[in-house]
Amino acid sequence: MISVSMTVNGKAVSAKIDPRTLLVQFLRENLLLTGTHVGCDTSQCGACVVHVDGKAIKSCTTLAATCDGASVVTIEGLAHDGALHPMQEAFRENHGLQCGFCTPGMIMSAIDIVNRKGHDLDEHTIREELEGNICRCTGYHNIVKSVAAGAHAMAPK
């Protein structure tokens, strides 16, 4: 067992874990933050995307041990004081989800896209940038709309 400490959604956490614990397991099993999902074994579906030190990563392909000292944000950490993050709001407003299983990873990736590519995103860019997130329900049509709308809404007013 090894010790890890990190900040998750603004709160300091630490635990003794088996070194083979993946970040997603640490979040789901140790912290009961079950909004982050696992949809594949090969780092392709993106249901597990969270932010580590401000960057989107696949928590199913990251050891919790390597996040020692890091700041992690999950889907549960986006809304503040009851107010949804603009990207969450955009997914709801544009029907960017159906079964909801890929949605947390989609939203975390979408915010990362905006952080890297800005607030004015064309359809082509959004589709390319979503390469690491698979959705089986929506055909992506409304996800693309959601990301574009969310990007605009995230722009400083």
């Binding site: 070194p19 090969t42 990563i57 696949k58 199913c60 050891l63 041990a65 390597t66 896209i113």
Partner: protein, 267 residues
């Protein structure tokens, strides 16, 4: 995943000593290949040595006429580095097309190069740009480094610390991604420096990344897309799988080369 011991050294010397202490230790760089392999129980290292805290492996520098990239530099950082984008835009573009955005935020150049996956992108860049791989022990020319699928010139206990790229006059990388995995089914990196032209191909061959002599000769004669037309690509040792037979991959090598040349010429 099988159980393992976790080590977190902070210097290359400590890494070396940790490697010496465990029989089948694995170095963990970005982990984007190693961890999926371990999750599938296809690898069972006794120890995992995390390079994430090792000093001196994360810089991108311009040294003379070379761009030098630390082994732990993430793909996303190469893709967005002003230095790289200015000096070797093709390399920045290649890094920006590896995996997906989340993978690029973790995966590293050192990990990719050391693994030498036959479908990885970086090895094509190293070969075509005539890069030098710097380890804790020596410097190895790319031509000597890649020795076939998942095989490199690295000795036991040898650790890549950086990769040095000479700046070309013109270069471009074009890949044809496998429709399912999005790894390169064929990726062609073309570079030109003076009269020298190098063409490196990844994804296609059972022997891993290689330089395509026939295409290089044709492009040395005339550096344009037309020169490649009709140049036969020997697919006899190419990969054949459900996504592409050897002859299809051979065709793609030709087509991707043409497109890379056109791109290198800025057309």
């Amino acid at each position: 995943m099988y159980a393992f011991a976790y080590q977190r050294p902070t210097t290359v010397r400590q890494v070396q000593s940790a490697l010496g202490k465990h029989d089948d230790a694995k170095l963990l760089a970005g982990g984007q290949t190693l961890l999926p392999t371990m999750k599938q129980r296809l690898a069972s290292p006794s120890a995992v040595i995390d390079l994430g805290h090792v000093a001196g492996l994360s810089a991108i520098e311009k040294k003379g006429r070379n761009i030098v990239i630390g082994a732990m530099v993430r793909h996303a950082d190469v893709a967005t580095s002003d230095l790289v984008r200015e000096a070797i835009p093709a390399l920045a573009a290649l890094a920006g097309g590896i995996g997906d955005p989340a993978v690029r935020n973790r995966g590293t150049i050192g990990g990719s190069v050391a693994n030498n996956d036959p479908s990885a992108d970086y090895p094509a860049a190293l070969l075509a740009l005539g890069a030098t791989i710097v380890t804790n022990k020596r410097k190895i020319a790319a031509d000597d480094f890649f020795q076939g699928m998942f095989t490199t010139a690295l000795d036991d206990g040898e650790i890549i610390t950086k990769v040095s790229f000479p700046v070309p006059a013109k270069a471009a990388y074009v890949k044809f991604p496998n429709p399912a995995s999005r790894y390169a089914m064929v990726g062609v990196f073309v570079s030109k420096k003076g009269s020298d032209v190098k063409v490196a191909v990844t994804g296609a061959s059972n022997e891993g990344v290689f330089r395509a002599a026939g295409l290089e000769a044709a492009l040395k004669a005339k550096f344009n897309a037309k020169a490649v037309e009709g140049v036969a690509v020997d697919g006899s040792n190419f990969i054949s799988d459900i996504h592409g037979t050897a002859d299809y991959r051979a065709n793609l090598v030709n087509v991707m080369t043409k497109r890379a040349v056109t791109k290198a010429l800025g057309k």
